[in-house]
């Protein structure tokens, strides 16, 4: 991916919705969904004469996130107005923080090819979320009108801005994964990317290796899945390298990722260069954060991913690799904990989680919390393997069916007739049939080609539609071919 002649520079801006009960500056509910314009009040609708009042829990959560990300917590912080005309804000300004954000100078560590790399965090600030727009046409550019639902307007956000320390799309993905994981562990946000509670914009530029001057910077908006982030960055880096190779100019602009076409597109806007006219919001007074306040929150900081990883290695004897993958998501770690409480073979559970479960979740872009297979169902399936009701191979089919339908493993086995064949006579009949149909392989095996037995076992398994007990098939074949 990375051409050795060039160096890629990436910085990420991540917005995360905080898991508070109420909005940042009014007492309306932050609940996701709901009928349009039902979680609103004169405050978050921007009516004249209504004053914003800051939600204390937003400050608590910002401090907690800052501590988990090794930031300095400001003693003095204030809110500013950021002006722009767009109907997703009823006031035509967003209340945000400009020059005195609540957290500064943090970092997190990512794992790249087995080595730890530190990515700096420039700042974290508090702000209000904008509202949801529904466009009349297929896209904003082709719509003659749009509809606005102010339910999301005023939901508290943290904006977390990284330093431009990221050097590849893979590192960008690793950074976002680690950040999501830490935010989940601190429970300040549920980080559901599908619901937009974690969103990412990327700044990217490419320069010749060794250059002291950064290349032209492009911002890509709305990278709302790990896959979109990595693919959009790969595309953009390629586009920059191509332009540099061909001596074509790049322009500093904002682009959007088109998931269907797999390309980034320039966002044509009428707005000239941003002129946000920030100034302190006179409706809000400063926030002074005493060191006692910070220490109280530090005392309540929950177990973070690194600590849990070490615990999983110690308590369950998991290899470092397994432990790091399973603890990368708090929900996955809890799922694992729940499975192991019912079924102590930790490594077996880990194998299924890291293999079939993660693969299926990724394929469907699904969150583990929405997964139809609950821990007790997975454990029930593992027990069916142990008591030889099903083979490990059949278990894959059962797993797939559980994942799709949410049915219990025993019911699936019954419905689909997947019970393992362990009847000696029945298997013997199939073994005989395969021996007769494959004289060449039989001959090969007898003349010492050990590999031929694998083929014959495979044929019997095929004949039994995967249901014969593989150990018994193997044993019987060997006995008969002696």
């Amino acid at each position: 991916m990375t051409d050795s002649k060039y160096e890629v520079v990436i910085g990420l801006e991540v917005h995360t919705e905080l898991k508070t009960n109420t909005k940042i500056f009014c007492s309306c509910s932050t609940e996701f969904g709901g009928e349009p314009n039902t979680h609103v009040c004169p405050g978050c609708l921007g009516m004249p004469g209504v004053l914003p009042v800051l939600n204390k829990r937003v400050v608590d959560f910002a401090i907690m996130a800052g501590l988990a990300l090794n930031c300095q917590i400001a003693e003095f912080s204030k809110f500013d107005r950021k002006h722009y005309f767009y109907p997703d804000l009823p006031t035509s300004y967003q209340i945000s923080q400009f020059d005195q954000p609540i957290c500064k100078n943090g970092y997190l560590e990512i794992d790249i090819n087995g080595e730890q790399k530190r990515i700096g965090i420039n700042r974290i600030h508090m702000e209000e979320d904008a509202s949801k727009l529904v466009h009349g046409g297929a896209s904003i550019a082709t719509s003659s009108y749009s509809l606005v639902d102010y339910n999301r307007g005023g939901v508290p956000l943290l904006e977390i801005v990284s330093e431009p320390d990221i050097r590849s799309p893979e590192e960008a993905r690793a950074y976002l994964e680690k950040l999501k994981s830490i935010l989940e562990y601190t429970e300040v946000s549920d980080c559901k990317m599908q619901e937009g509670s974690l969103r990412c914009d990327a700044n990217v530029s490419v320069m010749p290796k060794g250059s002291k001057e950064f290349g032209t910077r492009v911002e890509i908006k709305n990278l709302n899945s790990f896959r979109a982030l990595k693919k959009a960055l790969e595309y953009e880096v390629m586009r920059h390298i191509q332009a540099l190779e061909e001596g074509e100019p790049l322009i500093q602009e904002t682009r959007t990722w088109d998931e269907n076409k797999g390309i980034t597109l320039s966002m044509r806007t009428k707005e000239e260069a941003h002129d946000y006219r920030y100034f302190p919001d006179p409706d809000l007074v400063p926030v002074i954060i005493s060191r006692e306040w910070v220490e109280e929150i530090r005392r309540n900081l929950p177990e973070l991913p690194q600590a849990r990883k070490e615990r999983f290695m110690r308590e369950y004897g998991l290899p470092a690799y397994d432990a790091s993958i399973i603890t990368s998501s708090k929900a996955l770690a809890e799922y694992f904990d729940a499975c192991v409480a019912l079924y102590p073979e930790a490594k077996t559970v880990s194998n299924w989680l890291m293999g079939d479960l993660i693969r299926s979740l990724n394929a469907e872009d699904q969150d583990i919390r929405d997964c139809r297979i609950r821990p007790e169902m997975l454990v029930e399936m593992l027990r069916l393997i142990d008591n030889k009701t099903i083979s490990g191979k059949i278990a894959k089919t059962v797993f797939e069916e559980m994942f799709q339908s949410g049915k219990k493993p025993a019911d699936i086995v019954k419905e689909k007739g997947l019970v393992q064949i362990t009847d000696q006579g029945e298997i013997e009949a199939m073994v005989d049939q395969v021996i007769e149909a494959n004289p060449k392989s039989v001959e090969d095996f007898k003349s010492g080609k050990e590999k031929a037995i694998g083929f014959l076992v495979g044929q019997v398994m095929k004949l039994s539609k995967g249901k014969a007990n593989p150990n018994m098939v193997n044993e019987l074949l060997r006995k008969k071919l002696k």
Partner: protein
């Protein structure tokens, strides 16, 4: 400090104001006068004064994270010139 016609046009665009040539001229003069008056502040020595974030001696005005009932959809949309499907309908954005 004189405000140029270009400055007036820029500020007008940011404020979504459609000004006539006469207005641009008039506002240019008025804005220059206002800035000149504010410029008097530059004469003060502010070395020992930290920037004022708020004019009132208040800090940490916070509320508890307790939900209160919102207004209903009909009430929310009561002043909307156009609405559709329970939402505010706005003209073309870009």
């Amino acid at each position: 400090m004189a405000i140029s016609k270009k400055d007036v046009e820029h500020v007008a665009l940011l404020s979504r104001l459609d000004l006539t040539e006469e207005e641009k001229h008039l506002y240019g003069e008025q804005l220059s006068a206002i800035l000149a008056f504010m410029g008097k502040l530059q004469e003060l020595n502010t070395d020992e004064i930290s920037p004022t974030a708020h004019i009132l001696p208040l800090q940490n005005v916070l509320r508890k994270d307790m939900p209160r009932p919102s207004i209903d959809q009909g009430e929310a949309l009561q002043n909307a010139p156009l609405q559709e499907k329970g939402m505010f309908r706005v003209p073309r954005i870009v």
